[in-house]
């Protein structure tokens, strides 16, 4: 029964699909620069006495150079000591006021985030602490070694995970010697080689006014948010803007990698170089991908792989736009003896979608899902802060949220189809398969068939 004929069956659909898009009250984004020049993005959310702040540095693994893992080691070591405070003191200062500190490091960005109650007696100590670890981390040798050991253990964890192995191989095949090919979590050889001076130097060059933006969502007025931003980054040195990573060369040929692993299931990643966050086709490809494999169980890929054939638990596709072109990929996992079938279905699905584009009804329903669900994405401070962080880091326009529904509503089927054909070449893909040889299985019992 479940297939892609979008039957408008039964009374349940009547009226509902005709419902117009709700008017979404998009919160206002305020934007200014601190006295020392740091761009700040702020949304006031006055209902709960709490605030989320993200400090985003242009200091991700694309800046690793010859030392994969350097950006992450630096980011993870910030909270291990600052000024004359040890890691114990830092943790204690934050947690005794109920504050939560987060650090994360990806390919483009290195982020420090703070969630705190807004009453000054809680907020103030938390902010002072974060400001200090941004500005004067000590990177004590002992602390660095500890974080290094933790990262080495995490690397071992990746080596036992077929999904992680597939991901690393995929990025490596896609980006070769481009900075995005450098694994954010590093390599064992590199992690062991990184010196304290290299970490200090990385911090000195990247954790600066010229390379940071701040996003704040919470129970503050404008002047409260200004004070918060000043307190967080007011002490950072000026620094120099670092040029963006170079453009990513397109794939020249298809490539298939099979990596053995003693797993009962094989992990498949199929894809190519996608788009940058600034690409004018961002929205139209977002819509197209939502239909192909980004929209959950109703997407074409999930229907073909999971709903119709029972080949996998998870099957999806995604664009991951970055400062430069991020990947487009399809991902699924299936029992080892079904790999060829699943691969064939995924390839065929992508080819058909690229050639034919979506059906009208499917496009309309995906559009309804995206626009009708926009209010959901903006509900809650955490969701808003994540949106705001992206807007801030990539310098998207301040009316980005306001215009989102209008842009989605303005796109035609033909635009989706031609944009897809411009960007996706199903005959030129990187395919990575990590898993075991098909082992002789007892035939799966199907007592009811």
């Amino acid at each position: 029964m479940p297939n892609l004929k979008w039957l408008l069956s039964g009374i349940l659909t009547a009226g509902l699909l005709l419902a117009s898009n709700p008017v979404v009250a998009v919160p206002e984004i305020q934007h200014w620069r601190t006295a020392n020049g740091v761009p700040v993005y702020f949304i006031a959310a006055r209902e709960l006495p709490m605030v989320d702040a993200q400090i985003l540095f242009d200091a991700g693994s694309a800046r690793d150079g010859e030392r994969p893992g350097l950006a992450m080691l630096t980011n993870s070591s910030l909270e291990e000591g600052a000024g004359d405070w040890s890691a114990d003191v830092i943790a204690d200062r934050l947690e005794r006021v109920g504050a939560r500190l987060g650090t994360s490091s990806r390919r483009d960005s290195a982020v420090v985030s703070l969630r705190s109650l807004t009453e000054p007696r809680y907020l103030q100590p938390a902010v002072d602490t974060v400001a200090r670890l941004l500005k004067e981390p000590t990177f004590a040798p002992e602390a660095l070694n500890r974080v290094r050991q933790q990262m080495l253990t995490a690397l071992q964890g990746r080596a036992q995970s077929p999904g992680a192995i597939a991901q690393d191989a995929f990025y490596q095949a896609l980006y070769v010697s481009h900075p995005y090919g450098s694994p954010p979590h590093g390599t064992a050889a590199s992690l062991n080689a990184i010196t304290r001076d290299e970490v200090r130097d990385f911090h000195r060059r990247h954790y600066t006014v010229a390379n940071v933006v701040v996003a704040i969502v919470g129970d503050l007025d404008r002047s409260g948010a200004e004070q918060l931003a000043d307190a967080l980054v007011g002490g950072l040195p000026e620094g120099e803007t670092i040029p963006p990573p170079p453009p990513v060369p397109a794939l020249t040929a298809s490539q298939t990698l099979r990596i053995p692993h003693p797993a009962s299931q094989s992990h498949l990643l199929i894809g190519q170089v996608g788009i940058s966050r600034a690409d004018p086709d961002y929205h139209v490809l977002y819509l197209g991908n939502h239909i192909l494999g980004g929209g959950g169980l109703v997407s074409i890929l999930a229907q073909e792989i999971r709903e119709q054939r029972g080949l996998a638990y998870s099957a999806y596709s995604a664009f991951s736009p970055m400062r430069q072109a991020g990947p487009f990929l399809m991902n699924l996992q299936t029992r080892n003896d079904q790999v060829d079938t699943a691969l064939e279905v995924a390839q065929t699905t992508l080819r058909a979608f690229t050639t034919d584009g979506p059906e009208v009804q499917v496009l309309e329903e995906a559009r309804q899902n995206i626009t009708g669900g926009f209010a959901l994405n903006l509900a809650g401070n955490r969701n808003l802060a994540n949106y705001l962080g992206v807007i801030a880091f990539y310098g998207l326009p301040l009316d980005y949220l306001e215009n989102f529904i209008g842009v989605m509503n303005g796109m035609t089927l033909e635009q989706v189809r031609t944009a897809w054909q411009r960007h996706v070449q199903p005959e030129r893909l990187v395919t990575v398969i990590v898993g075991g040889e098909p082992v002789p299985l007892a035939a799966p019992t199907q007592p009811d068939s």
Binding site: Q160, R335, Q446
Partner: protein, 459 residues
Amino acid sequence: MSSSRILIALLWLALAPATFAAPPVHEFTLDNGLKILVREDRRAPVVVAQIWYKVGSSYEPSGLTGISHLLEHMMFKGTPDVPGGEFSRLIAANGGNHNAFTGRDFTAYFQTLEKDRLELSFRLEADRMRHLLLDPEEVAKEKQVVAEERRLTTDDRPQALTREQFHAAAYVTSPYRNPIIGWMQDIENTTPEDLRRWYQQWYAPNNATLVVVGDIDPEQVRDLAEKHYGPLQTSDLNPPRPAAEISQLGERRIVVKTPAEVPYVMLGYKVPTLKSGDEEWEPYALAVLDGVLDGGNSARLSRHLIRGSQVAASVGAGYNLTSRLEELFVLAGNPAPGRSSAELEQALRAEVARLREDLVDPDELARVVAQVVAADVYQQDSLFYQGMRLGILETVGLGWNRLDDYVARIQAVTPEQVREVARKYLIDDRLTVATLEPLPLDGSRPAAPDAGVDHHAIR
């Protein structure tokens, strides 16, 4: 040192009044027994509806493990009025998102929608509460999907596999010994008829709680619920037979050998919960003890084992006081490179021994309380999570209003009480230890272990 102690104690006092009251909960019950809980949260024009059934893996008899979870998957496969796939399609086309989750003590379904579309959720959920089709072909296909889910989330993940074996070893008679997703052979052998019986027994208004959180008027929720859920028939409920865990008579140990790189060790002590215990203060004291060990980067496990002795690369503790049955207080971690699982186990046992011997410092308690007070505010940022807390408490039989005094109960815990629960429960005779021993990842399969020891040899 003593002056900073005083300062911290003052901070503790200062923190106490910070509790920020959550909006009230409105409670109704329909004639057919469906309980409805509504919390208004007007921050965004959005509403979350969750329907919670009192059934989960801890209700399952031997041979039918995983049936609650498999049924959860089948709930998306259609009714006479809403054919397979339509449910997801309708929610998506109305801008919503939806999913479901199965636990040991509950099965829950949810939709998040723009506030004016709440009725769609009620219409669809009420329909599939009593009218599910269980087409044999769809069942066969979905069993394959669940088998893939099991491979993805357990079989090919060394730590998850260890955790599964750990629970199977720690419990003898408690149904918490079985995995939520079920043993592979049970997934394979479950029939459509098994599913039909399970469905008819447990999916009924008198075994469910509807939780709605969002930009919505409670009276409107009541009216809509009456309209859609009101006509549904009740079911004769046969509560699962009591399956209390028998007394443990000494320490248990298991080893799990599987291809892996990172060693892992788990310790679990049998402890009471709010529902399963006799002394009401004990679970709160155990929750505080959990915070002393693992309440953030300043807590003892990070401070002593990751930083101090550096025996652990990662380490944590966990305790769930809202479980329906007797629980495990778990400590687990990966040894640091060059250190062994045995060393990490000894370090964890030493931390537990210290809790039995010494009173925790007032400033440690103050920090735990500060985090609980702050978390109580942070949790109100998520509609979904607010609903989840209400739904769990109601479904395990504690009642949602346990939320009201949670912070006060945590604040009331004394250092003496923390030591008392440590002395009573965190003792060797209540302990199970599981150690993951990595086998080489050379692409070849290990020799099959002795039959009957490792169910994965069955594959």
